[in-house]
C-alpha cells in the first residue's frame, strides 16, 4: 500500500520543526509547516512535548486534525484527519566524546579529525605517538579522568600508510593499553591505521579495550579513505539517539529509525548533486552547531562542529576570533557586543528584537561560517555550482537579500554559482523521508523546498578600488536589455524576477577571471530569475575590509545598500 501523507520532523537542540506532506494533484507537496522550542532542558526534559506542540501549531495552520489523545493520528482517516506515516531526524543527542591518537606527522591526526567532524562528535583530546610516549601534554590527565569516569565513547587511532612500518603503531598501542588498563573501564578503540599492524595491535590491546578495526584512514599519502570510520561513528551517534529524554514515543510513531540530522541533510545535498549534476555546497547555520556539506565531485563530504553554533559555544567563537572580527561586519557602532553574544550563548533560542540586534546576529553568522571553512578543508573553497543555505538564522530573515549577502560574505564563492535557501529547514526532514518514501522526498525537494535566490558571478582578480572589473549585458527572454559595468570593490544586483530567464553576457577586463580559468575571457550564460536576481560580486577574494572602524562601517553599509537593503 502506498503512503500518501506524512508528518516529518527535525528535533534540533533548540527548535523542533515539523512539516505536513500530502498528495496534491497526484504529486507529493508541502502542505504546512510548524515549529516550537525543543523541550530538552529542565523542567520539561521530554522532546515529545515540543514535537506535539509543533504539530499542534501545524494543525491550526493546515486546518486538519493530526493529534488525538496526545499522539499523532496514523494512518490517515477517511475524514482527512491524521497522516499515513511519520519520520524524524534529530541533532538533540549528546555528541560522541572522542580522543584521537595518530602518528608523528600531522596527516593521520588531520584525517582522523576530518572523519570525526563528519558527525556529532566532541573531540576531547588529540595525541601524537610522541606526546603519548613522553607524556608531554596536560590533556593526558583529562584522558585518564575520562577513562575512569567511563565518559569516553571511543578512542580513534590513525596512522601509518599501507606498507609502512608497523612498530610505532604497536608501541603506541602499548602506551594506550597501559592507560586504558589504569582507567578501570573498558573503552571502545577504533583502529584505522596501517592494516598490516592490525594483528600485533590486537594482541596488545586484547582484553583491555573493545577493539574495532576499520579501513586505514590514510592508505597512501594524499589519499584519504574516511568512509569506514565515518560509517562506524555515525552508527555510534545513532545509538546516542535512544538516550534523548522522551524520544521513545517519537520512535514508536516513526516508520524508519530516527536519523541524525547531519546524515539526512548530507543525503539531501548528495541527492541534489546527483539529480541535477551539480557541485553543491550546503551550509547549515544552527543554534547548536555549524554544518558544511558538499557533493558533486571529489570533495570533503561533510564537516560539522558541535562546539560552536549560532548559540551554544559562541563564547569559544568570541575567544578565538575576538569582538573586532565580528564588529567588522556591522555598519554601525554597538556597545556591549561581547555581552550580547554571550547572552545569546546562554539562551540560544532567543530572537533579535531590533535591527541592530538582528544585524549583530548576522555578523556572528558570517564569522562563524568563515571559522568553519578554515577548520573544514581548503577544498571547501573550490568553485561550486550551487550553494544551499539552511538552519534557524537563514529561515528567520525578513529579506532574502540579507540571506544572499550573509552566504556571500561568509562563504565567499568564486566564479559563477547559484544561491538557494531552504526556507523551512526542510532538507534534513526530506533526507529522512527518503528512507521511507523516496518518491515523496524527491517530489517535495524538486517543488517546494528551495527558494532560488539567484545567480552569483564573482570574478577573481585585483584592481584599484573603483576600476572597472566587468561589463555585462543581460537580454531578458521576455524582452528588454540591461547593460552596465561593475567596478572593483562593489556589488551589483540586476533584477530578474522568479519565472523569468535571461541571457547574460559577461566581459571581464584583462585583470579578472569569471571562473573560466583565464583572465579577460568573456562568457555568455543563461540565468534564471530568483528572489534576489543576478548578483555580480566584484569585491575580490578574499574580501578585504579597511582596518579603520569608520571606513569599515562605510564599506559594509555600501555593500548592504548595493545588495538592496
Amino acid at each position: 500500500m502506498s503512503l500518501e501523507s506524512f508528518v516529518t520532523a527535525d528535533l534540533g537542540s533548540i527548535t523542533t520543526r515539523v512539516t505536513l506532506i500530502d498528495q496534491v494533484g497526484g504529486e507529493y507537496r508541502l502542505v504546512a509547516h510548524g515549529l516550537a522550542p525543543t523541550t530538552l532542558s529542565p523542567p520539561w526534559e521530554d522532546v515529545s512535548l515540543g514535537l506535539l506542540q509543533a504539530i499542534g501549531r501545524m494543525e491550526t495552520v493546515a486546518q486538519r486534525r493530526l493529534l488525538a489523545q496526545g499522539r499523532l493520528v496514523t494512518p490517515e482517516g477517511g475524514d482527512g484527519s491524521g497522516v499515513d506515516g511519520f519520520v524524524a531526524t534529530t541533532s538533540a543527542m549528546e555528541p560522541l566524546r572522542l580522543v584521537a591518537a595518530g602518528m608523528r606527522e600531522p596527516w593521520s591526526l588531520r584525517s582522523a579529525l576530518r572523519a570525526a567532524h563528519s558527525t556529532y562528535t566532541l573531540v576531547e583530546g588529540t595525541f601524537t605517538v610522541d606526546e603519548l610516549r613522553l607524556s608531554s601534554t596536560e590533556g593526558m590527565l583529562d584522558f585518564l579522568r575520562l577513562l575512569r569516569e567511563g565518559g569516553l565513547d571511543a578512542i580513534l587511532v590513525a596512522g601509518g600508510v599501507e606498507g609502512g612500518p608497523t612498530l610505532p603503531l604497536v608501541e603506541m598501542a602499548k602506551d594506550l593499553a597501559l592507560l586504558c588498563a589504569s582507567g578501570g573501564t573498558r573503552p571502545r578503540l577504533i583502529f584505522a591505521g596501517n592494516e598490516e599492524a592490525r594483528v600485533p595491535v590486537a594482541e596488545v590491546l586484547e582484553g583491555v579495550v573493545d577493539l574495532e578495526m576499520v579501513n586505514n584512514l590514510l592508505p597512501r599519502l594524499g589519499e584519504e579513505s574516511l568512509a569506514g570510520v565515518q560509517e562506524l561513528l555515525e552508527s555510534l551517534v545513532g545509538g546516542k539517539i535512544a538516550f534523548i529524554p522522551g524520544i521513545e514515543s517519537v520512535e514508536r510513531w516513526s516508520l524508519a529509525p530516527i536519523q541524525p540530522t547531519a546524515r539526512a541533510l548530507g543525503w539531501a545535498v548528495r541527492y541534489l548533486a546527483r539529480e541535477y549534476e551539480l557541485k553543491v555546497l550546503g551550509v547549515d547555520i544552527g543554534g547548536g552547531g555549524l554544518g558544511l556539506f558538499s557533493a558533486g565531485d571529489d570533495r570533503y563530504p561533510c564537516a560539522l562542529t558541535n562546539e560552536v553554533g549560532l548559540g551554544y559555544g559562541l563564547d569559544r567563537l568570541l575567544a578565538e576570533r575576538g569582538v573586532e572580527q565580528i564588529l567588522r561586519w556591522l555598519p554601525f557602532d554597538l556597545e556591549g557586543v561581547g555581552d550580547q553574544i554571550l547572552n545569546k550563548a546562554l539562551r540560544p533560542g532567543t530572537l533579535p528584537q531590533s535591527r541592530e540586534d538582528l544585524l549583530l546576529e548576522q555578523a556572528v553568522a558570517r564569522e562563524l561560517m568563515a571559522w568553519g571553512l578554515e577548520r573544514a578543508d581548503e577544498r571547501a573553497l573550490a568553485p561550486v555550482d550551487l550553494i544551499v543555505g539552511t538552519g534557524g538564522l537563514l529561515s528567520h530573515l525578513p529579506d532574502p537579500r540579507q540571506a544572499a549577502l550573509i552566504l556571500l560574505d561568509g562563504l565567499q564563492p568564486r566564479g559563477i554559482c547559484s544561491l538557494a535557501l531552504d526556507e523551512f529547514s526542510l532538507l534534513p526532514q526530506l533526507g529522512a523521508l527518503a528512507m521511507a518514501e523516496p518518491l515523496a522526498a524527491a517530489q517535495v525537494l524538486a517543488r517546494d523546498t528551495l527558494l532560488n535566490l539567484g545567480t552569483v558571478i564573482a570574478p577573481l582578480g585585483v584592481a584599484k578600488e573603483g576600476e572597472v572589473a566587468l561589463r555585462f549585458k543581460m537580454v531578458y527572454s521576455e524582452g528588454g536589455t540591461i547593460e552596465g559595468e561593475v567596478s572593483y570593490g562593489s556589488l551589483e544586483v540586476i533584477p530578474l524576477p522568479f519565472g523569468q530567464r535571461a541571457t547574460l553576457e559577461l566581459r571581464p577586463t584583462q585583470s579578472f577571471d569569471v571562473g573560466l580559468g583565464r583572465k579577460g575571457r568573456g562568457a555568455t550564460t543563461e540565468v534564471e530569475g530568483g528572489a534576489v536576481g543576478v548578483i555580480i560580486d566584484a569585491r575580490g577574494r578574499p574580501l578585504s575590509l579597511p582596518e579603520e572602524r569608520a571606513a569599515q562601517q562605510d564599506k559594509v553599509q555600501k555593500w548592504m545598500w548595493e545588495a538592496g537593503f
Binding site: 530538552l40 526534559e45 506542540q53 555528541p95 569516569e149 597501559l178 539562551r347 528584537q353 528567520h396
Partner: protein, 358 residues
C-alpha cells in the same frame, strides 16, 4: 499548551543538590545518611600529571618479565630520583630512577604509569540534608527543604556560606569601597554588577562566593582566576537582579546557602543554582509545570528588556511583526516599570514556582 523556557525559582519546596568529585575517587557516605554542610562526603586523589615510564625498554629487558626487575610496584609511592627498577649484575647494573615524586598506579606492556604528586581533594556536602543517591566513585545527591533559584551563568565551582547582601554600594555595584572584612567567609549578593577592582577586593577580603545581577563579559577571563565562584542571575552586561529574585535573597539574608555552579552537560542546559535550606512546615505542592497564561510572571531575557520582569497582559492569537520585519509569536507584557511591551515568546522565561511571596 506552550512549553516556554522556565526559570526555576522555588521559594519553598524540596531541593536537591548533586555533588560531584572533579576526578573519580571514593564516595564516603551511604544513601539515607544525614549530612552537615561541612562533612567530607567524598575524596579523590588528583595527580598533577601522569607519566608513562618505558622501564623495560630502558633496562633492555623483556616487557613480559619486567616485574622481576621492579623494586617498586603498583600502589607504592616513590620519590624523585628513587631507584624503582634494576637489571644486570654489578658492575653492569642498569638502574631506572623515578623521574618525579608520585605514586605508581599500574604496570603493563613493560611500562609503569606514574601519577605525579597526587593531592587529596575532599568533597564537602555544602548542604544539610539526607543523601538520596550515590554514584560509585563519582558523587552523590543530597536532598532537603528550602528555596532554590536558578542563575544564568556561573564559574568557579561550588561554595557554602552565609548569605550577606552588599550594603551601601553605588547603584548596587560591587566596587572596592563597598566591601570590607565584614564580608569575610560570606556569599555576597550584589544587586547589580561588579567591577574588576571590586571582585579583586572581594578576593582580598576572603568571600566564599559572589552572586551578581550581571557581569561585563570582558571580566570572564578575570573571574576564571578567582578562588571563589561568581554567579550571575540575569545575563552578561550591566543589569540588576530582577526584583522578585532580589526580594527572595533579601528575605533569606543571614541564612546559610549553597552555590552550585552547574555542570556543562552536552546539549542540555543545566543552570547554576543557589540553594537556601530551611524548614517551614508544609511544602508547596508541585504542579505539572509552569503554564503561559494571562497574569503569569515572566522574566525577559533578551535585549533591550534583559532582566526586566512583568506580568503577561495579553496572549495575542496572531503573530506580530517585530521592528526588524519578521512576524513572530509573542505576548504583551506589563513591565514592573508600568510600560506594556510586545515580546517574542522565545525571549521570555516563566518564573517557575508560581508564588514568589516567600
Amino acid at each position: 499548551m506552550y512549553y516556554p523556557s522556565a526559570f526555576k525559582v522555588v521559594p519553598y519546596g524540596r531541593v536537591r543538590l548533586e555533588r560531584l568529585l572533579p576526578f573519580p575517587g571514593e564516595v564516603l557516605v551511604e544513601p539515607g545518611q544525614r549530612v552537615e554542610p561541612m562533612d567530607v562526603v567524598g575524596r579523590a586523589h588528583i595527580p598533577s600529571q601522569i607519566r608513562i615510564l618505558h622501564v623495560a625498554q630502558r633496562l633492555s629487558v623483556a616487557e613480559v618479565a619486567l616485574q622481576e626487575y621492579l623494586l617498586k610496584g603498583p600502589g607504592e609511592r616513590v620519590e624523585e630520583g628513587e631507584v624503582i627498577a634494576v637489571a644486570g649484575r654489578w658492575p653492569f647494573r642498569r638502574l631506572y630512577r623515578a623521574p618525579a615524586e608520585g605514586k605508581i598506579v599500574n604496570e603493563a606492556q613493560g611500562r609503569l604509569l606514574l601519577e605525579v604528586s597526587p593531592s587529596t581533594y575532599e568533597l564537602r556536602a555544602y548542604l544539610k540534608g539526607v543523601v538520596t543517591q550515590v554514584v560509585s566513585s563519582r558523587g552523590l545527591a543530597i536532598e532537603t527543604s528550602g528555596a532554590i533559584m536558578e542563575g544564568a551563568w556561573a564559574m568557579g565551582g561550588d561554595a557554602f556560606g552565609v548569605l550577606k547582601m552588599l550594603g551601601e554600594a553605588p547603584e548596587g555595584r560591587l566596587v572596592p569601597e563597598a566591601i570590607d572584612m565584614g564580608y569575610h567567609g560570606a556569599i555576597v549578593v550584589v544587586e547589580s554588577w561588579a567591577t574588576k577592582e571590586g571582585l579583586g577586593k572581594a578576593k582580598e577580603v576572603g568571600v566564599r562566593g559572589v552572586i551578581l545581577g550581571s557581569l561585563p563579559s570582558s571580566l570572564v577571563g578575570f573571574v576564571s582566576t578567582l578562588s571563589f565562584p561568581v554567579m550571575i542571575m540575569e545575563g552578561f552586561g550591566q543589569v540588576p537582579i530582577s526584583r522578585p529574585l532580589f526580594s527572595l535573597f533579601q528575605q533569606h539574608a543571614g541564612r546559610e546557602a549553597c552555590m552550585a555552579s552547574g555542570i556543562p552537560y552536552g546539549v542540555r542546559l543545566l543552570r547554576p543554582q543557589v540553594i537556601i535550606p530551611f524548614l517551614r512546615g508544609e511544602e508547596a505542592p508541585r504542579g505539572e509545570g509552569p503554564a503561559l497564561k494571562e497574569g503569569a510572571l515572566v522574566r525577559l531575557v533578551r535585549e533591550p528588556y534583559l532582566g526586566k520582569v512583568g506580568c503577561v497582559a495579553i496572549l495575542p492569537p496572531q503573530r506580530r511583526r517585530v521592528e526588524w520585519g519578521v512576524e513572530v509569536e509573542g505576548v504583551e507584557v506589563d513591565l514592573e516599570e508600568g510600560e506594556r511591551v510586545f515580546v517574542p515568546l522565545a525571549n521570555l522565561e516563566l518564573l517557575e514556582g508560581s508564588s514568589l511571596e516567600g
